[in-house]
Symmetry: C2
Subunit: 418 residues, 2 copies
């Protein structure tokens, strides 16, 4: 089964919108074991869209469109396909009820053209949209070959992504007759090339498949298998995951059923398990770590608060670092990181404090501290420790790497304490 | 002049990489006045890449490729085009010198296959790459029509973007014989539809052109004109910018020559001008505002530090909010926001303090505070004020909107104080 993505909208060609839908679909299709060889983007132009449909339907079984389902004249996605199929768009009763009820629920008046969103060709399967007015659709295109379909999804990612997961993924699974089971292994503290070297033979194996995804400081591995049921699939993945754990060790910080994990989420979960609280004291990261923790729903049960001691004066005033420490060792020093962690732990009354001091650039400080040099302090009920790092890259990258390494220090401490 | 983007790489079809290059190119091409009607993506497959070249060269004057310039067998971008043109790839002396000097500069050993990156067809114009090993190239494709070219750029955005700006943009400007001058107007506190309504006639005007770009809470307008020189272009844009200012008023917080502005940057600049300092006291935003300020290079001259008072206990301990205030009005209240701002201003010793307390969801608190309700407090040498907001959307969106509205409150205060 071959699928391809056709993104529709002049705003994409003008660069007004970043096409995250294409990446989302690629990940999902690849996890579902559906092949994808082409992606394309066209504007709101009937002639070029018609050509794009013809090309896509000639080479793929399933064409997934994104965008152009709105109520205005620019929204030509459905109309151009209907013309190509030689069919009429007619009012679909289910879709009309959906559009009406959406406006009622939002307490907004409905303008007449909104009913355009309920027009579909007669054999279309309409897909519900809980997050917007435009229903999606699966349109049979037998004219181009047996089993060929176009699937219309709305453009905004907060409508597009849930509709794919709730309606399209089950449809594709049903067509393939099997269930796809995935696990996501999250890795921190090992580079992509090392992971690749250690797991090359496993990645070359076609099933279960293993694909790496990198983000700043992290590698994520997706292990996937096609199986008869979710249970048999999970059982088939177990030996692979055990083997990866044996090879990589404690750089794996989580194994999850979705790709929504993060170091902050794992840390919050581990703190909850141990009924421990944490606080932050941030100079170079400047509130980023606190913000990443607060981004996790339920963080209030384990996160007390924190200090942003950006200038030396605040390191003294708020965290109680001594003037002598700052004068003798400077703000970017092991001694200062230690003082910040110990001071914050006391001021905030938390079990664990993490501190960050460093130089993120673009310019060095008056002591000519090398850009990227960072000290991360950890104060716990058992004592305190400081780790030294040298990060490289932009100011934002250095700050994010510092933040993630701090969260990882807490995660490792909690695992040691088991 | 019509251009199109051809992104090459199986990692894009697997969803391992988000295609930010396509958006970057779309913005730049649109700013340069170059039309773009198609974008496409193919994997590292010679047959499909050949077809993609043929299709793209049949309908566009300039085809810009991204990716596939590396040294390994997967990197087929140049070879497939050379075959299609019936030409040979031969060692280019300039490119070879570049590759060698890059490895020398990085102090890394060069493996033999790296010289593949210096192979080009003989009429190719090689583009220098200061940020990586692979040079780019402009390859004449007269076989497909007069003036047609393929421009090869490397895949990683930190190589791709600077190479476009330093080599490709001047080439395209030279081909068009004119200079493109742009100004970016940044708007906060007015929705896209209102901006659209107020400026519709100006946006419909072909030159100077005016395009809106939206991001969370903000609208950015790009005003662009093709002119003989940068000076004449700037002069032609002036009346348009004055007219937009007259219509929109103080929601315009900056007019800049690049698209790198932000509310935090403008606020830091205004604080510097007035030699004033700021501090933060954050509950719902949880350090996000401090982090956004620290993200601006040079923030250390105006940003003292801040408190993250996430739980009620810290609102008392760190910011000195009274227990009575918390018991009587709750943490999400005007009184608490006021106490937080006044407390932080005193504790941090800054001229201005901004405070945030609210409920970002997904669940409400024990007082059933509506999700999205947020109070932002501002304490200044002249006194204190609190503003109430109701934000909607996800937890992260609510927190970001709160942060941006706080930065905007400081910006408006500084402008009033002129």
């Amino acid at each position: 089964m071959i699928a391809e993505v056709l993104s529709i909208g002049t705003e994409l060609l003008m660069g007004q919108v970043l096409n995250t839908n294409a990446q989302f679909l690629s990940r999902r299709l690849s996890a579902l074991g559906v092949a994808q060889y082409h992606q394309s983007t066209v504007g709101d132009n009937p002639g070029r869209l018609k050509e794009a449909y013809e090309t896509a339907l000639s080479r793929s079984d399933i064409v997934i469109t994104s965008g152009g389902l709105g109520p205005t004249g620019d929204d030509i996605t459905k109309k151009v396909l209907a013309d190509l199929l030689g069919e009429e768009l007619v009012l679909n009763a289910d879709a009309a009820a959906h559009v009406e009820s959406f406006f009622k629920r939002m307490n907004r008046p409905m303008s007449k053209n909104n009913m355009n969103q309920a027009l579909f060709t007669k054999d279309t399967m309409v897909l519900p949209n809980p997050n917007g007015t435009a229903p999606g659709a699966i349109v049979p295109c037998e004219k181009f070959g047996a089993g060929k379909v176009v699937i219309h999804l709305p453009g905004p990612p907060y409508e597009f992504e849930p509709m794919f997961d709730s309606s399209v993924a089950p449809y594709l699974q049903k067509r393939s007759g099997q269930t796809l089971v995935s696990r996501y292994l999250r890795i921190f503290g090992m580079g992509e090339s090392t992971v690749d070297t250690l797991l090359r033979d496993l990645m070359d194996c076609p099933s279960p498949s293993l694909s790496p995804y990198c983000s700043i400081g992290e590698v994520q591995l997706r292990a996937t298998v096609l199986s008869d049921t979710a249970e048999t699939g999970a059982a088939e993945l177990e030996p692979l995951i055990a083997e990866i754990r044996a090879r990589l060790g404690d750089v794996i910080y989580a194994v999850e059923k979705t790709d929504k994990g993060s170091l902050a989420k794992t840390m919050v979960e581990k703190l909850l398990l141990k009924s421990m609280s944490v606080c932050t004291c941030e100079s170079v990261t400047g509130g980023l770590t606190a913000s990443e923790i607060v981004a996790i729903p339920g963080a209030s049960k384990v996160f007390k608060g924190g200090l942003v001691t950006y200038c030396d004066e605040e390191k003294q005033r708020l965290a109680g670092v001594s003037r002598e420490t700052l004068e003798r060792y400077g703000a970017v020093s092991k001694a200062c990181a230690l003082g910040m962690a110990l001071g914050a732990r006391e001021k905030c009354g938390a079990d664990i404090a993490i501190s960050f001091t460093g130089c993120a650039g673009p310019d060095s400080d008056e002591r000519d501290t090398p850009i990227g040099l960072t000290f991360i302090g950890l104060a716990t009920p058992e004592g305190a420790e400081v780790h030294e790092f040298k990060f490289s890259g932009s100011r934002q990258r250095i700050r994010m790497l510092a933040c993630l390494n701090g969260l990882n220090q807490i995660r490792l401490y909690l695992e040691r304490r088991l």
